[in-house]
Symmetry: C2
Subunit: 213 residues, 2 copies
Amino acid sequence: MARAGGKRSVETSGSPGSAQTRAALVEAAVATLREVGFAGASAREIAGRAGCNQALIFYHFGSVAKLHLAALDAVSATRNVRYQAMVEESENLGDLVRAARTVFDEDLDQGHVTVLVEMIAAAQFTPELRPEVAARIRPWRTFAADSVRDALAGSPAARLLPPEELAHAIVALYLGLEMLANLEGEREPALALFDRAGKVASLLDIFKRKKKS
Amino acid sequence: MARAGGKRSVETSGSPGSAQTRAALVEAAVATLREVGFAGASAREIAGRAGCNQALIFYHFGSVAKLHLAALDAVSATRNVRYQAMVEESENLGDLVRAARTVFDEDLDQGHVTVLVEMIAAAQFTPELRPEVAARIRPWRTFAADSVRDALAGSPAARLLPPEELAHAIVALYLGLEMLANLEGEREPALALFDRAGKVASLLDIFKRKKKS
DNA sequence: GTCTATACTTGGATAGAC
DNA sequence: GTCTATCCAAGTATAGAC
């Protein structure tokens, strides 16, 4: 899958260890963004973690910024499968919120969202980064909207809160909660919020069930 | 007020143009953080905007980071009076949400929240900055909690959503909406959300009125 | 208090050997 | 494809003249 064309900036035909070092660099870039943030994710720092030379970043990706974007793609991909699974295994809104709590906890542990937040904050003032990052964040909004639409189908709440609007709020809230949790070093307020939302969601589920029967 | 002691790092007694340049530097730091972000807010860049020399930053503040914090203090102060006024002039929840929409719009125009977001994102990985920024963000949570408690007093919603928890969500949401709005260059989704919240708030106000009569 | 000059460090990026 | 060596730009911070 990573071999299918169109993404590589230099090589065209597959080469020996090329794919390996590319992968190592991307993984190292993710780890670096997560652990020392965007400001600390320099070419030298990333290459050091990848165990290879700094110059290779420019050979393989053309610039550090492009490697940063590749890192963003990588976490987006893994998050995507996780979120997708989360939605599929949830039967009602209450399930979904409880699953989301678990995923949020995981994301915090593994620093996935930190990478997003760092990239978004940095993209704000990096002209060539902004549209790229925006394009990589947008799918989350549509994904959230689809999930919400699905989970809210037949619920009275759907009229009060259109899925698209609610989805936007959810994505923003998720990012904001992550920022605050990392800043304060405590995630309890955020988790309590998920618990609270879970209770409200369960209430909505009951209304929905009553309506159906 | 800015003359009251304890804040200056070098001077102890007041000096000629000192206070002026200090103020100019703080204002320039705010503008720089707003316009080119944390990464671009270097000593040279800020000094250039303040129309004075780079070395003065170290003389007056000791380090660039401390000037950044002073900038954060400055926007916090102005935002505080604005938010306070907003809460005081609102009679019910619906009023409050509508006022918040206006303030959000202003904040976006003038980039106040951008400064917060940049500092929060940067503080994540700057050990000496993190506790300082955290201490400056915390008041917003308590302020929001107080306002929500006040506005929700006597409303049936207060039992479903405790003020402290709701306040945390509001602060996180505010930051997240700001990030997304700046990233995408469009604030409509966020404003639509405020409008939606306004309608729900008005409903709650009606319930509350009914209960009272 | 403010400026000039400068020491020191780090980072992006390229050239060229292997 | 990978490494060494290097250039150049930009940043923090300090010393010392005014």
